[in-house]
């Protein structure tokens, strides 16, 4: 499917989505409140994006951005969905029920960035220790013992 | 020609000439006890080293070759290490049973030495129910294993011991039926008569089809009875537990370890006696010249050769096959081996009655 067709399908579900085609793939920028709706549409609708292959977060100091890389095993097209989150209270809906790979990936983003995934079945730390304080991958993470500032 | 029975007869005559009969008998018993213990120790040394060398060669490496020429004293070094280790007893273990278990297993192994014929006229006790004695006493080893698992007060040991116990008890049936096949062909339970009946050829050749089937089933069953791979789930290292001897260390562990190898020797000796003729050289019917040539090799060499060949086969199994799961193991016995053994017994009975064996 070409980018135009994908844009049409997404815009018909979510008119407020904006697009950015400067990169390799089509970037869809949405509001974090609409994520669940558009995710369900991507999975079950005409796009058939059944493979979520990368789920991560980027800390832009003023806000956080959730980045979801989706692809379809049938049509072989890729899109990137981005949602900006508030720095003070980052929250977004979970997509564990749509793509089961998100269970582990969202736990990792939770412990590294502090993003709260609403309705996640088991949101707790995955890689770090249970009593670890702070969110390491944020840019303002201070660790005077382990991090050496040159 | 070198023959072990010469030594026994000479010793016996000398003893009975020198002392009065009761004391001579007592001295003979003591000598036999020492010989049995020496045989155990010697066998243990040889078999452990043989296992490691056979394993190494199959795995395209060399095996122990530093301690002594060709690694001969490796087992001595291992034994010294085990003796010097601290023998820990868990706090809440049942002390009496915990300490008794290795000895029960060793005792059973020693008792089984009695009816085995190592060479012509070189048997400790030629009881007239030889085969029945062997089957009965070998069943007692299960008690030792269950004791070890229970007394350790460790739920994983208990699990391992129960699995082991179930496995041994199941496979005894098939082994017993395989042995019965030869008894039917011979018509006697006595070891010396079974061997004598193989004067004109070993039972595995004379008894053709049923004997071969019985031999295969026997080898599988005794591999399972001695907890050897591929039936060693109870003591597998990559599973959760180390089996019933998890809590044992030091000399008591050495006794279990030794008892396992002695058991392998004994069951192979029994297999060699029943199917491959024991100390009887390879005779082919009435080919006099061939038989006379074969007789030049001493009977003890024949016996040891056959037994060690079977031991090698069992060791070969260990390093070739992956492990069976416990339910597959019991499946194999109850659904496949047991019906085949029963049918085989029927077949051999028909053959024996009609005289269709050689």
């Amino acid at each position: 499917m070409s980018n135009e067709e994908i844009k049409e399908i997404i815009s018909s579900t979510l008119p407020s989505a904006t697009y950015d085609e400067t990169g390799e793939w089509l970037n869809v920028i949405i509001d974090s409140k609409d994520w669940k709706k558009i995710a369900a549409e991507c999975r079950n609708g005409a796009l058939q994006m059944d493979f979520l292959f990368c789920l991560t977060c980027v800390d832009w100091k003023t806000h956080l951005t959730m980045v979801y890389h989706l692809t379809s095993t049938k049509h072989r097209h890729n899109i990137v969905v981005k949602a900006n989150l508030d720095h003070a209270m980052p929250e977004i809906e979970t997509v564990c029920d749509i793509w089961r790979t998100a269970e582990f990936h969202e736990r990792e983003v939770f412990e590294m960035f502090g993003v709260n995934f609403l309705n996640h079945p088991d949101l707790r730390k995955l890689i770090l220790e249970d009593d670890f304080k702070g969110f390491p991958l944020r840019k303002d993470f201070e660790d005077p013992i382990n991090m050496i500032k040159l | 020609m070198f023959s072990l029975e010469g030594i026994t007869t000479t010793t016996q005559n000398w003893l009975f000439a020198k002392f009065d009969p009761t004391i001579a008998l007592a001295i003979e018993c003591i000598i036999v006890i020492f010989l049995a213990i020496t045989l155990f120790a010697g066998l243990g040394l040889v078999l452990v080293l043989m296992e490691r060398k056979v394993a190494a060669r199959i795995q395209i490496r060399l095996g122990p070759n530093r301690v002594g020429p060709g690694g001969m004293f490796q087992t001595v070094a291992d034994t010294l290490k085990l003796i010097m280790k601290e023998g820990l007893t868990p706090d809440s273990a049942d002390k009496f049973l915990f300490n008794l278990a290795p000895f029960i297993v060793m005792m059973v192994a020693m008792l089984l030495l009695a009816p085995i014929a190592f060479a012509k006229n070189f048997q400790i006790w030629d009881i007239n129910i030889g085969v029945l004695y062997i089957s009965a006493i070998s069943s007692l080893s299960v008690i030792g294993i269950l004791m070890a698992g229970w007394a350790s007060n460790n739920k994983y040991s208990l699990l391992g011991a129960m699995r082991s116990g179930a496995q041994i008890v199941s496979y005894e049936l098939s082994a017993g039926f395989a042995v019965l096949t030869i008894v039917v062909l011979t018509g006697s339970l006595q070891i010396s008569e079974i061997i004598a009946a193989q004067q004109n050829g070993w039972w595995i050749f004379k008894g053709h089809i049923p004997a071969v089937i019985a031999f295969v089933i026997f080898i599988i069953a005794v591999t399972a009875e001695t907890n050897r791979a591929p039936f060693d789930l109870a003591e597998a290292e990559s599973e959760l537990t180390a089996g019933f001897h998890t809590e044992y260390s030091g000399m008591k562990f050495a006794l279990f370890f030794l008892a396992e190898y002695i058991n392998i020797f004994i069951v192979c000796a029994i297999g060699a006696t029943l199917f491959l003729g024991g100390w009887m050289p390879l005779h082919i019917g009435s080919w006099e010249a061939f038989n006379n040539i074969m007789d030049y090799i001493p009977s003890s060499v024949w016996f040891m050769g056959k037994t060690f060949f079977l031991i090698f086969v069992i060791m070969w199994f260990r390093w070739t096959f992956p492990r069976l799961r416990i339910d597959q193991l019991l499946n194999l016995e109850w659904k496949y081996l047991l019906p085949i053994s029963l049918l085989n017994l029927l077949l051999v009975a028909v053959i024996a009655i009609l005289g269709w064996h050689f």
């Binding site: 770090l128 | 992956p322 597959q328």
Partner: protein, 378 residues
């Protein structure tokens, strides 16, 4: 991870309905690497498996934010150490794509040959280790014999046996050893003779088959949903070989088959990997004689700076799809790196595959997933 007292409480307590909670690992002969599994058992049946990760977490993603673009490539060798060349290749490809660097043909050919050799070495180790888990101790030594040949080739050409820092953005760090082609051909010849040994010893062994057939079934929809890639997904019928779908270097010029099985059980995963080894040999055979002469590295500046933007590259490692995602602000260091490791997603399917089966089957299932824990923990 729990602190000490909590671990003890868990192992001696019975959960509700008499379930037993036991710990497998982190030190365990069967979990290759430091993987801590908390297994909830009901008798012999597994009810739930929960992996506890983080024992080898080295904060690679944070660390790479302070490394330059030339430096961060070699950290990925330490992630999935069995596919180190392929990981390095993924990072190098990303930088080449972002900075529009030309890679000479010679470098492309050699990079593909090295990737395939690494894939064979990784599968050989996996085969030996999995057979050992199931109780067959001998194939381990046979597969390491072949792996040793590959490691010697690597040592001669790249300088190291395991973490070979050889691939740079633009090509290779230095040219291959003059004996490279001869040794690779000798290896191919020996491999073809010996591969029938595994067939006889392991694949056609009825005990092995009965321990792996029908165990740990993963359907195609579940494989896609869990994000499984590589042999795990291909054994369930999902076509996802990156070398075919999005070819890089010279993969579009070579002929090879994508191995797909539909059964989705442990035996299918085993067969996929064994056949992949044969396909890798096929690729190497096609390339080894035609390595073009020329430069081994393209022209690049000393200090690399990716333009502002986001970049993603994917390569096919021995375990699956390895993805590198870089957010760049135009400087000499990446602003954010995310490594999409194949083991992470494959591990998340373990609970689904193994729940309801027996504890003895857990070994077979975990063995066929081919997990390398540093890859998961990063």
């Amino acid at each position: 991870m729990y602190n000490q007292t909590e671990i003890i409480k868990d192992t001696t307590n019975l959960g509700p309905e008499g379930e037993l909670i036991i710990n497998m690992g982190p030190q365990h002969p069967a979990t290759h690497g430091v993987l801590h599994l908390v297994v909830t058992l009901n008798g012999e049946t597994i009810k739930k498996i929960e992996p506890h990760l983080g024992y080898i977490h080295r904060s690679i993603e944070k660390m790479c934010e302070s490394l330059t673009y030339r430096q961060f490539i070699y950290v990925t060798s330490r992630m999935d150490y069995l596919s180190s060349h392929i990981n390095n290749l993924g990072c190098a490809l990303l930088i080449e794509k972002g900075m529009q660097i030309e890679v000479p043909e010679r470098a492309k050919y050699i990079r593909v040959i090295l990737s395939e050799l690494t894939r064979i070495a990784s599968h050989e180790l996996w085969l030996g280790a999995m057979a050992m888990d199931l109780g067959a101790f001998t194939p381990f030594f046979y597969t390491f014999r072949e792996r040793e040949m590959i490691t010697e080739i690597m040592e001669e050409t790249c300088g190291a046996r395991l973490t070979m820092n050889y691939i740079v953005p633009g090509g290779l760090m230095y040219d291959i050893h003059p004996d490279f082609q001869k040794k690779v051909k000798a290896f191919i010849k020996q491999f073809k003779e010996k591969v029938t040994e595994f067939e006889d010893l392991v694949t056609n062994n009825i005990i092995f088959q009965s321990r792996t057939k029908g165990i740990g079934i993963l359907s195609a929809e579940d494989a896609i949903s869990f994000g499984c890639t590589g042999p795990v997904a291909r054994a369930s019928g999902v076509s996802c070989d990156i070398r075919k779908l999005y070819p890089y270097d010279v993969y579009d010029k070579v002929e090879f088959d994508e191995i797909i099985e539909t059964a989705g059980d442990s035996f299918a995963r085993y067969i996929v990997r064994v056949k992949e080894m044969n396909q890798s040999i096929r690729i190497i055979e096609q390339l080894i004689d035609c390595i073009p002469e020329g430069e081994f590295v393209g022209k690049t500046k000393n200090v690399l700076k990716l333009p502002k933007g986001e970049f993603y590259t994917r390569v096919e490692t021995a375990r699956g799809e390895f993805g590198v995602f870089i957010v760049s602000e135009g400087g000499t260091n990446p602003y954010r790196i995310k490594f999409r490791s194949p083991g992470f997603s494959n591990l998340s399917a373990l609970n689904h595959m193994a729940a309801g089966s027996k504890i003895g089957d857990l070994m077979a299932t975990m063995g066929t997933l081919d997990l390398v824990i540093p890859d998961i923990d990063r």
